[in-house]
Amino acid sequence: MSTVELRERLADRAVAGPKQVAITGTFLGILAAWLALPPATVRTSTVPIVLGAIAIALGGYAALRDERRVGYGAVAAGIVGIPLGLLVQHSSVSHLDAAFAWGTLLAATLRYATPLTFAALGGMFSERSGVVNIGLEGMMLAGAFFGIWGADKSGSWIGGVAIAMLAGGVFGLVHAIFAIHLRADQIVGGTAINFLSLGLTGYLFIQVYGSNGTPSLSTGHWLTGESIPDVTISSGNNFFAQVFGQLNLMIWISFAVLVLSYLLMFRTSIGLRIRACGEHPRAADTVGIDVYKVRYVSVVVSGMLAAMGGAYLSVGFTHSFNENMTEGRGFIALAALIFGKWRPFGAFAAALLFGFSTALAYAIPPAYSDTASSVLRSSALFQALPYILTLIAVAGVIGRSIPPAADGRPYKRQ
């Protein structure tokens, strides 16, 4: 390589495009808040203010040079980063250290992300085949109730998860019949699934367990008292052990399902056919693929996976059921799916982000127990964190998310 060429190449590298500037800005905006946290715990208010201001400036520079999306993302990161950093500095270092034990925080992230991962992967099967599944919430809720019921009746968590999957599959089948054969509007159909599930689980809950609540480990009603076991692979006190040392089996299963979903969807002929049905069902039909069959199976699998997420929530996590216990997690999972561009690892990453912000929302308030402000001590304010993060991420980091071309469009055979 000639020296001239080399110099040109270096020059190309040296000049940062507006996009790089904006990404740097976003990074600085995050840094503004992060430096106030352990282990750095910077205590001067200049640091977040200066870093945040630079982030805003860089974002503005990029936005003016036609990198609007990333540019405004950096601006938003700066605007949120400054107050967040200042807010964190309000708390004492010792409290922060307790709240921001990163190992525990990440373990909590995985716990909160797992139901979302299951449901988002389920959603991927349905939507990749061309059926919008806004009923994930209902299918998840069904999984939560029938998981507990199944574990109670069969006396084993395996029976619980199996029955949950069966219930989710049935709800999936109902959605499939409406969406595929009856060609009903899929948003309306999915919403109906959600209400149906809410009503049904609520009714059965009262009928079967009365107002005493579900049997749980503590009350001893649970016949064999068997919950989904944790997997202990390390009990040390290092970072790795804190995160992965003791996780619920369902979390490991979700990792396996994630990898399998990826392989199935993008590395097998079955996946190719599912995606073909979601992009251009008529094209699939003309090469002899049974679009209806592919979609039915995909939507039923979708329901089963969402139900696994619900079962984890009830049988694996809280060990009980209460009415509407999914509380919109199905919708968050749907957001994660869209956010992750209908790809398994993308959806997983989004689920982790939502999980992390939920974990954060629970971890922050104790850090302010020595502050007079009751606002800071209540977790209510921080519950909004996941959604703020979503907005920033959607605006700045992730590009436009393009759904499968035939997603939500009923197919009619000629």
Partner: protein, 509 residues
């Protein structure tokens, strides 16, 4: 070449509610021949081919392949019998690669169900080599040209070892050059022993490529004739059932003042690429100015700028002597006296879900008599529509019929009626006969000449050289956003063709 037919259809009948789409049709296909199926829109060509490809089931009749009777209940059965089909609207998935599209439904698999993409790519290369195609198996379909997409469709059939290939209106979406390439491919397929059914309503290409021609009209087969000895006129008569004027007869133009004046116009497309780069032209009262060019050389953007659908980046447009502001939108252009027959009547010309009366009122709904003080008068709309339907001989429905329910030719008549009835000074006609059959083309052509003789200035943009040559009083050739030459209507197709690819000499008529 063996004489026994590879495919035989006997007495195929298909009844749809209200229409007898196929009425006892017999057809046979010999090995290594190109058999053209000619007919107007709605003659039953597509129905017949969908039956042959297993997408419809016939009410009566039988199909035999290589002498054996077969029944198809889905496309799978037809594929298994070696029948491949290239649909008019490609059955390709834009976001997938060429190789993925080709193997879909019959994928080579490695261990168990794992897709063996390497093998797929190799197989595609191999077939492409055998038949002399150029394709990149790893390219995404959305990134390749329409002509290449069509080749992918043909490869799809070849991959499935088809020896009977059905092509449904294959040239409708192609540029003239791509069509020539396609014909080359068909000839080489023929040489390899493939049999081809070629569906078309274009007489010249049928005469160019077919060995035998079957003509359908209103669900019945009229005749099957060898190419030798038939003429365009004869085929047109068989298709339409009466004599058709293929050449437009028009008196010499009596030209008046310039009504449309464009000066140094520059227009960008949606991706901010300069598509029109300094076009200046004049269209005078009583003349048809034809703009010839290969698709994508700025014609669309020029038309959009002139009709106010796209803002130009610089330059001026004047209608009837009045210079329009640069940001003039379509309403201002309409009111200044422009009429527009858009190139895509289903997307831009009509609201398919609206009735004919509503479609006809689309421009003037906000003016009396259609409305007063913001109130619509539906009865007046209907009266207006009834008059136009009668004057312009629109068939297949009344004022309250849904526009989408009409045939293409009648839809176009509705568009023409609406535009002409407003008495525009300038009429912009973009590909006014695209997708129309012979009878409807004849009507539109005659109408444009009539409007010219009424003293309107007509700007005709078309990809069909024949149409440009037969209608225009002057011809401009557009290449890469610029006017590269002006020609008289006596110019030859060769001259224009060369100019269209940028190889013509600067020419002043």
């Amino acid at each position: 070449m063996a004489a026994s037919p590879v495919l035989e259809l006997r007495g195929i009948t298909k009844q749809f509610p209200g229409v007898l789409a196929n009425d006892h049709i017999d057809l046979d296909l010999k090995r290594g021949e190109v058999h053209a199926l000619l007919g107007e829109n709605g003659a039953g060509k597509s129905t017949l081919m969908n039956i042959l490809y297993g997408l419809y089931r016939p009410d009566e009749g039988e199909i035999s392949v290589n002498g054996k009777p077969v029944t198809f209940s889905s496309a799978k059965d037809a594929i298994a019998q070696g029948i491949g089909m290239v649909h008019q609207h490609f059955m390709l998935i834009p976001v997938m690669t060429v190789a993925e599209n080709i193997v879909l439904g019959a994928e080579p698999t490695g261990a168990g169900i794992m897709l063996d993409y390497g093998a797929a790519r190799e197989r595609v290369r191999e077939i492409a080599r055998t038949f002399g195609f150029q394709v990149d198996p790893d390219a995404r379909v959305e990134n390749i040209t329409v002509g290449q997409q069509q080749r992918v469709e043909i490869l799809k059939a070849l991959y499935r070892r088809a020896d009977i290939l059905i092509l449904d209106e294959p040239t409708a979406v192609l540029t003239p050059q791509e069509a020539t390439e396609l014909f080359g491919i068909l000839r080489s397929l023929k040489a390899e022993g493939m049999s081809v059914i070629f569906i078309s309503h274009k007489l010249n290409e049928v005469l160019d490529i077919a060995d035998r021609i079957s003509v359908l009209r209103r669900g019945k087969k009229i005749d099957t004739v060898p190419r030798a000895g038939v003429t365009e006129e004869g085929l047109a008569r068989m298709m339409v059932g009466r004599d058709v004027l293929l050449r437009v007869e028009k008196p010499p133009a009596s030209v008046g003042d310039p009504l449309l004046e464009i000066h140094d116009l520059h227009v960008l497309d949606d991706r901010d690429i300069a598509k029109v780069r300094g076009v200046s032209l004049q269209v005078r009262a009583g003349e048809i100015l034809g703009i010839a060019g290969v698709d994508g050389n700025g014609q669309t953007e020029l038309v959009e700028a002139v009709t106010g659908l796209r803002t130009s980046s610089s330059g001026t447009i004047a209608v009837a002597g009045k210079t329009m502001p640069r940001h003039a939108h379509s309403r201002a252009m309409l009111d200044a006296g422009t009429g527009h027959i858009p190139e895509d009547r289903q997307r831009r010309g009509l609201v398919l879900e609206f009735s004919l009366a509503e479609n006809i009122a689309l421009h003037d709904y906000c003016y009396p008599p259609d409305s007063e003080h913001g109130w619509l008068f539906p009865r007046r709309l209907i009266q207006h529509a009834r008059r136009l339907i009668k004057d312009f001989d629109v068939r297949g429905g009344g004022p309250t019929t849904r526009a989408g329910a009409l045939s293409g030719g009648n839809q176009q008549k509705v568009v023409v009626a609406r535009e002409v009835d407003r008495n525009p000074k300038v009429l912009v006609a973009a590909q006014p006969t695209r997708g129309l059959d012979v009878g409807a083309i004849e009507y539109v052509h005659r109408r444009l000449v009539t409007e010219r003789d009424e003293g309107r200035a007509i700007l005709l943009v078309s990809l069909e050289l024949e149409e440009i040559l037969s209608l225009s009083d002057r011809i401009l050739v557009m290449f890469e956003g610029q006017i590269v030459g002006e020609y008289p209507p006596t110019a030859t197709e060769e001259e224009l063709g060369l100019a269209m690819i940028g190889a013509g000499k600067e020419h002043a008529a």
